[in-house]
């Protein structure tokens, strides 16, 4: 069948052409990305060894710099004195950072496939002194006001044949003084409206610590709902406080919580402030959609990330303003 053979040959040629075009497009796309640093995000480097940041003084803002202009700065933990000023960049490069009472946390990606969190414990001068590895992708980091407790949230992506892309979060409480794991929120007993609440689809994230070294707040998600939960670390207990509240942050005086709440249609996160004592909840003047765990600047203002900058908003009245350009993960050093 010469005709059939000719048709098959022609098909072979078309196929070879298509494979060649696809191979060129794929190779070009990957090489361009590899050479130019894709996604607009430059690679973070730890910078020259031995360059140590000085210890940030009280009132300073410790943050992660997103400076893309100066080489070797992007992603590194840095600080700036109270009221602004030139940043001092000296810590390691991280995906998420926090700092309180002379202790810091730096979360970065690790593992051959980038699916592990490298948790580095930093000393008061932002130098790493110990590290451990947790499964997942870095998400949130917090340290208690006294610097003794830490909390890390990571996204864990499962990969199974039958349920593709199973996904969950893990929140680990850390002992900051020894650089160790202390507890996993999944092991805590949860009560909802006074009744025991159990489900295998629990996910926890976004911890904020109170002054007493035992109480904390966090987010619990189950069955499509999110809850603000109050935790008792020593008792290994959690109880739900209210629904629809994520990534809480407790004010320095301990009387108010700022969190993200899903509102409107299509739903978007807006910051709201709650007085747990009275149950009064009010929206913040920030009208943009936000996705960050806020940090209190003082008892009347909060800091948070919008795109690649840190913004400041009063809790009631007024308008948000730009606080620091090209930075995220704000942590304010308090005087205590």
């Amino acid at each position: 069948m010469p005709e059939a053979a000719a048709t098959r040959d022609r098909r072979g040629v078309w196929f070879a052409l298509l494979v060649a075009v696809c191979a060129v497009v794929a190779a070009a796309s990957v090489s361009i990305s590899a050479l130019h640093g894709a996604g607009g995000a430059p690679q973070a480097h730890d910078g020259p060894a031995g360059r140590r940041a000085q210890t940030p003084p009280p009132g300073a803002l410790v943050f992660r710099t997103l400076d893309r202009v100066h080489e070797g700065r992007y992603g590194r933990i840095a600080w700036a004195p109270a009221g602004g000023g030139r940043p001092v960049v000296g810590g390691p490069a991280c995906e998420r950072t926090y700092y309180a009472a002379g202790r810091g946390l730096c979360l970065s990606r690790a593992g051959a496939v980038g699916a592990s969190v490298r948790v580095r414990f930093l000393d008061e001068g932002l130098a790493p002194w110990r590290e451990l590895t947790l499964p997942g992708i870095p998400s949130r980091a917090r340290i208690s006001p006294d610097g003794r407790l830490g909390a890390v949230t990571a996204f864990v992506t499962g990969h199974s044949y039958a349920d593709p892309g199973t996904f969950s979060t893990r929140t680990t409480i850390l002992d900051m003084t020894r650089g160790r794991r202390l507890a996993d929120l999944e092991d805590f007993e949860v009560t909802r409206d006074g009744e025991p609440f159990r489900s295998i689809d629990f996910n926890f994230w976004g911890v904020t610590f109170a002054e007493d070294g035992n109480t904390f707040y966090a987010t619990l998600a189950s069955g499509g709902d999110t809850y603000l939960v109050r935790g008792d670390l020593r008792g290994r207990r959690l109880e739900t406080v209210r629904r629809n509240a994520e990534c809480p942050s407790l004010s320095p005086d301990g009387t108010r919580l700022v969190y993200k709440k899903l509102v409107g249609s299509p739903p978007a996160w807006r910051y709201h402030v709650l007085e747990p004592a009275t149950g009064i909840e009010t929206p913040l003047p920030e009208k943009r959609a936000v996705d960050d765990q806020a940090e209190w600047l003082d008892d009347g203002h909060v800091l948070y990330r919008v795109e690649e900058d840190i913004w400041e908003s009063p809790v009631t009245g007024g308008r948000p303003r730009l606080y620091r350009r090209s930075a995220d993960s704000p942590a304010l050093l308090r005087d205590n």
Partner: protein
């Protein structure tokens, strides 16, 4: 590109294999469909592996939003499957309907490159991608069965599933390899995934013959099957029994996710090795899919199929062993892989042998949808049991249900023997 080269090499390898005396009694179409599935799975798994990373990293999604996408991901496929299976039978256009499905999924990969950061657009693309999967599955399985002799159905599905699983394993490796070369270049990964999918589609469109090589008796003659005839499928004695057996066993089947989670709780290994569990199972499945299919053709498909579920009882037992140490993990993964090899393709071979050729797509879609709905139900039930009576008790409970389901299945299939001796 590495993966394109390797797939053309594979294609060449298969041609060589076929020309070298046809050691496998499988038609060219079946092997080509396997290659199409391999490339499509490389493409699909590349995306599903990195999608969570992409959503969380680049787009700043939270788990709750991801859950929405994920739910969409899983639910969409099975409903479309029935419609596409029937449509392909009705128009006698299995190749065209399958191509449409593969094409839709390929375009979605390109869409991911273009839409950027819109949550609703990504959700829509994921939905469309799963729709494409739903569209292609039944007509493709129908083509495999219509292009095989009745005596080699098990082997044919085994060859297809082995190639399919190979693709599913290569996909994540390719994706992570590319991200290692070009960190955070998610868009590049999507683009490469699109290229691989297009090559897969081209293999189907250019090389697969739309008409079956070994036409079944009823094919191409008589009027196109009506919806009423499709509805009467549930009354075809042998096939109806198989539907019951597939659903009943599905109801007692723990999803892999739960099995891995249970293993982790029992043996207490590092959660970081979680992705390796999937690889371990897939390797065993890949290696044994063809031998299991051949065995099924030789000693009886129903025997191998029931035997596979018997192994699942054993697997539940291994997880429950009080002294389960680290060795329980490879043992469990091995058993799970053998179970897949003995049941997944073999069920479709059983269904093919028991259903009329004119309604092959509809029949296999019905069988696939029934079992996956049963498994979904099983997951919900298991989740509830885990919370109320605890993990060990829940597994023991499922073990008991599975033994009962096996007894029902053996009786049901034995009752059907007079009707369908080939099964």
């Amino acid at each position: 590109m590495y993966q394109v080269q390797s797939s053309t090499a594979l294609l060449r390898g298969h041609r060589r294999l076929l020309s070298r005396g046809r050691r496998l009694p499988v038609s060219r179409t079946v092997v080509l469909l396997g290659v199409v599935s391999l490339l499509t799975d490389v493409s699909a798994e590349m995306v599903s592996t990195i999608l969570p990373l992409y959503l969380v990293y680049t787009l700043g999604f939270t788990p709750l939003q991801y859950g929405v996408v994920d739910g969409v991901y899983q639910g969409a496929a099975s409903l479309v499957r029935l419609g596409a299976g029937f449509g392909a039978d009705r128009w006698r256009r299995h190749k065209e309907v399958a191509s449409l499905g593969y094409g839709i999924s390929a375009l979605c990969k390109l869409g991911l490159v273009i839409v950027g950061s819109s949550f609703s657009a990504i959700g829509a693309l994921v939905l469309l991608d799963r729709t494409g999967k739903g569209v292609r599955t039944a007509p493709r399985d129908a083509m495999i069965s219509l292009n095989s002799t009745p005596a080699t159905l098990g082997t044919a599905f085994g060859v297809h599933r082995a190639l399919d699983t190979t693709g599913a394993m290569l996909g994540p490796l390719v994706a992570f390899g590319l991200l290692a070369l070009a960190p955070l270049a998610f868009e590049s990964v999507f683009l490469v995934s699109f290229c691989v999918a297009i090559v897969g589609l081209a293999v189907l469109v250019l090389f697969v013959d739309g008409r079956s090589e070994r036409p079944a008796p009823v094919e191409a003659d008589g009027p196109p099957p009506s919806l009423r005839e499709a509805g009467r499928l549930v009354r075809v004695p042998g096939f109806a029994r198989l539907l019951v057996v597939g659903s009943v066993l599905g109801l007692a089947t723990l999803s892999d996710g739960f099995l891995y989670l249970a293993l982790e709780r029992r043996v207490d290994f590092e959660p970081t090795v979680f992705p390796l569990l999937f690889v371990g199972t897939a390797v065993v499945y890949m290696l044994l899919a063809v031998p299991a299919g051949r065995l099924a053709d030789r000693v009886g498909r129903a025997k191998v199929f029931i035997g596979g579920y018997g192994l699942l009882v054993l697997l539940y037992g291994v997880i429950l062993l009080p002294s389960a140490g680290w060795w329980a993990v490879p043992l469990a993964l091995g058993i799970l892989g053998v179970y897949y090899a003995a049941t997944d393709g073999v069920l479709m071979a059983l269904g093919s042998a028991l259903s009329p050729p004119a309604l092959r797509g509809t029949s296999l879609a019905l069988l696939g949808t029934a079992t996956s709905v049963a498994r979904l139900l099983a997951s919900v039930i298991f989740g509830a049991l885990w919370v109320t009576i605890g993990l060990e008790a829940a597994i023991a409970c499922f073990g008991a249900i599975l033994v009962a389901a096996l007894a029902v299945s053996v009786l049901t299939l034995a009752g059907g023997r007079q009707v369908a001796p080939g099964a």
